[in-house]
């Protein structure tokens, strides 16, 4: 016999103590002096005395037996069996995970079905479905975060509290090893052509050389079409339209929800800083006069990109937000007193504000570190990789480009273009039977006897 939670077994050592406590504490507690007890132990009462004493011992034995059985039940004992206790099949139903009910049922049957597993649990996108699957068990595809998928698997397996669990994940994505026992079987049924990027350029992945037609649904409900010759692998195509909310290529399509501006972001750069310029260039932003966004230290410019800093010295939030005017001063003053290394550690909250101090856009959830203030010709403003990322994000958010949902969809498609492999744990699941119910039953029987005697 094996125990799943053998740590509870240590409680069995405490049972004699419980027994002694019950025997003596109760006795001490209910003990009283009496002038003479002979009168109660007269011959005709002797039997009763012994009976009550024996009953007391029996009651104590029953209590300890109930506890012992409860502990054993809690420890989840297992004995050898000809079947595995649980089969947990997790199906990661993504948009291109083409699972068929018959296929799944056949898959389980190929593993042995009910003859090999005592309990068969099927979860499709974390929703439990009874085996064998029926036609109405179709679940809507959903891209659940991988982390959540893995957490669900681990949590579910643990909830069985059994050593005898065979778990399998069917997916078309690439998962890292979840645990030692879970097999990950990857099956990909994705279309030959996939849209993997949307923006100024449309990225298309193709398995073969093929000619396809790209279809755009424009904001004004017109449809735009473009025929392209795709090579094997990733293809980069200039976006023919500035704004659309749906794109289709052969069997793959992406719905963007509300209309998304795919035109390049226009930025009016006034600093003349070569690093800022190169950053803007790397972000595919257009440098244009009279654009919505201006990057400047010039006091006359209405909008600019600034940092705010969390600092205990300042209590009012408005004091933390700097316009490009006082930001310049702020940076300069700060540099006089701070060493580069300590400045590097200061947390910054990226915001875009107007000259009046009104917040146009803020991103409180993200935290950036103000980078090292390197010596530049016009300011101490810093251009570092972190600044480029910050700028990219702020520009994207300001223009409403590429929502997270689209990113998730695109990332999923990108993943489908990557090579994959199954993960077979090689773990031989022990064939065992949980007999904790026996101890629970015995415990309940004893409890009933205790109550009714």
């Amino acid at each position: 016999m094996r125990f799943f939670s053998n740590e509870y077994l240590i409680l069995l050592y405490l049972l004699p103590i419980v027994f002694i406590i019950l025997l003596f504490l109760k006795r001490l507690k209910e003990d009283a002096e009496y002038p003479f007890t002979k009168i109660f132990t007269a011959k005709k009462k002797e039997k009763r005395f012994f009976r009550s004493f024996i009953m007391k011992i029996i009651r104590i034995l029953l209590v300890t037996s109930i506890l012992a059985n409860a502990i054993l039940s809690l420890s989840k004992p297992y004995i050898k069996s000809n079947r595995i206790e649980h089969l947990a099949l997790f199906i990661d139903k993504t948009p291109y995970m083409n699972y068929e009910i018959d296929k799944v049922n056949r898959f389980i049957d190929s593993l042995g079905g009910k003859e090999a597993f005592r309990n068969i649990h099927i979860y499709i996108n974390q929703k439990k479905v009874k085996y064998p699957l029926k036609e109405n068990d179709e679940i809507k595809p959903n891209l659940i975060e991988k982390q959540r998928v893995m957490e669900h698997i681990s949590r579910t397996i643990f909830s069985y509290k059994s050593n005898s669990v065979k778990s399998i994940l069917l997916t078309d994505r690439s998962f890292k090893r979840i645990n030692l026992e879970t097999d990950i079987i990857v099956r990909r049924d994705a279309p030959k052509v996939l849209i993997t990027g949307i923006g100024r350029f449309i990225f298309l992945y193709s398995k073969d050389e093929v000619v396809v037609e790209l279809t755009f649904k424009l904001k004004d409900k017109n449809i735009g079409k473009l025929t392209v010759n795709l090579k094997k692998g990733i293809n980069k195509i200039n976006s023919p339209v500035k704004e659309f909310d749906f794109v289709n290529c052969l069997y793959d399509s992406i719905k963007l929800g509300r209309g998304i501006l795919l035109s390049r972001t226009n930025v009016n750069e006034k600093t003349g800083n070569k690093f800022v310029l190169s950053a803007i260039k790397s972000l595919d932003a257009n440098l244009e006069e009279n654009s919505d966004i201006e990057i400047s230290y010039n006091n006359n410019i209405k909008k600019g990109i600034v940092f705010s800093k969390e600092d205990e010295k300042y209590t009012a939030k408005s004091e933390l937000f700097s316009t490009d005017k006082n930001f310049d001063e702020y940076i300069r003053n700060m540099n006089k007193n701070l060493e580069y290394t300590s400045l590097y550690k200061i947390k910054g909250e990226p915001i875009i504000i107007s000259k009046k101090g009104e917040i146009i856009l803020s991103n409180k959830d993200d935290v950036y570190f103000v980078a090292l203030p390197l010596d530049t010709s016009k300011s101490n403003f810093v251009i570092t990789p972190s600044f480029v990322l910050l700028m990219d994000q702020m520009l994207n958010r300001f223009t409403g480009k590429s929502s997270e949902i689209v990113n998730k969809e695109l990332n999923y498609r990108k993943e489908l273009t990557q090579p994959y492999s199954d993960y077979l744990s090689g773990y031989e699941t022990p064939k065992e039977l949980d007999i904790s119910f026996v101890f629970t039953f015995v415990s309940l029987i004893f409890l009933m006897i205790l109550i009714f005697t």
């Binding site: 006795r27 007890t37 009462k45």
Partner: protein
């Protein structure tokens, strides 16, 4: 003085004092059959000495002889009281022994006031003291000292003690047993009824505390015997109370059927009520 105050009086350590207080408070109305010489037998004449009671001068003898003679008589009467006091450990329960000591001394005191002779015996599983009193105040002081100095301990076994007392008991005595009758009551009653052979008047004062019948104690799972230290289990309040009541009833019936004067006293009832009943009944 109510019952509560009487019980409070039991806290007075001096047995003599507390007995006198109880007597003064409650037995003042009881007529002690004051000694007037009517029942006393003539003993002798002696010459008058200063301080003698004028009432005792025999004026006829004075007229005859011209000398003042005082008439003396024996203090002895035909009745003698034999008092048996149980001092087993069970008497410690609820203050029974202190009550018993006081009650015993009350009888001795009354007896002494009547110039009756008395014998007192204190026993548990064997006889500790068996003393026959002399006359005068000294006898009563000795009795007070003996009774008050005794500590209740040991088991109850009345039979051997009774046998020894029986040997020394004169005929037509009052034998008073003060006990909680923790021993086998049939044996006790048999032994006491055996003393009736000498035409003795046997009086039993069966002492009990109301605590013995309280739910608080009888409902306990285990009861520890104060004398044997044995523990008994099981039983409940109702069962145990029934046993106690049945036993008390059996003792009463058995005593009365064998011509013994049985008196059951709850010590919480004090002295006045139970003793008034006793004396009234005896006066009839």
């Amino acid at each position: 003085m109510n019952k509560k105050e009487e019980i409070e009086l039991l806290k007075i350590p001096d047995l003599f004092l507390r007995s006198k207080l109880i007597l003064k408070g409650y037995f003042s109305g009881i007529h002690f059959v004051p000694y007037k010489g009517a029942s006393a037998e003539f003993s002798q004449y002696r010459e008058y000495v200063v301080g003698d009671d004028f009432n005792r001068i025999d004026w006829k003898a004075y007229l005859r002889s011209g000398k003042i003679y005082v008439k003396e008589s024996d203090n002895e009467t035909n009745t003698e009281m034999v008092l048996l006091l149980d001092s087993s450990n069970s008497m410690n329960f609820g203050g029974k022994f202190r009550y018993a000591q006081t009650l015993a001394f009350l009888f001795i005191y009354i007896c002494s006031k009547q110039n009756d002779l008395f014998t007192y015996a204190i026993f548990s599983d064997f006889l500790h003291i068996l003393k026959r009193s002399g006359t005068g105040k000294r006898a009563i002081y000795d009795a007070a000292r003996d009774i008050s100095s005794r500590i209740a301990k040991g088991k109850t076994d009345i039979r051997p003690s009774l046998e020894k007392v029986f040997e020394k008991t004169k005929e037509s005595s009052f034998v008073i047993l003060i006990s909680d009758l923790g021993d086998d009551y049939e044996k006790i009653i048999d032994a006491l009824s055996g003393m009736r052979v000498k035409k003795n008047d046997i009086i039993i004062f069966h002492l009990a505390s109301k605590k013995e019948e309280s739910k608080e104690i009888l409902d306990k799972n285990a009861l520890r015997d104060m004398e044997t230290k044995n523990i008994i289990f099981g039983g409940n309040y109702r069962e145990r109370l029934k046993i106690i009541k049945e036993r008390n009833g059996e003792i009463r019936n058995s005593s009365l059927s064998k011509g013994l004067d049985y008196n059951f006293i709850y010590i919480e009832d004090g002295f006045n009520e139970p003793l008034s009943k006793f004396f009234k009944r005896r006066m009839k």
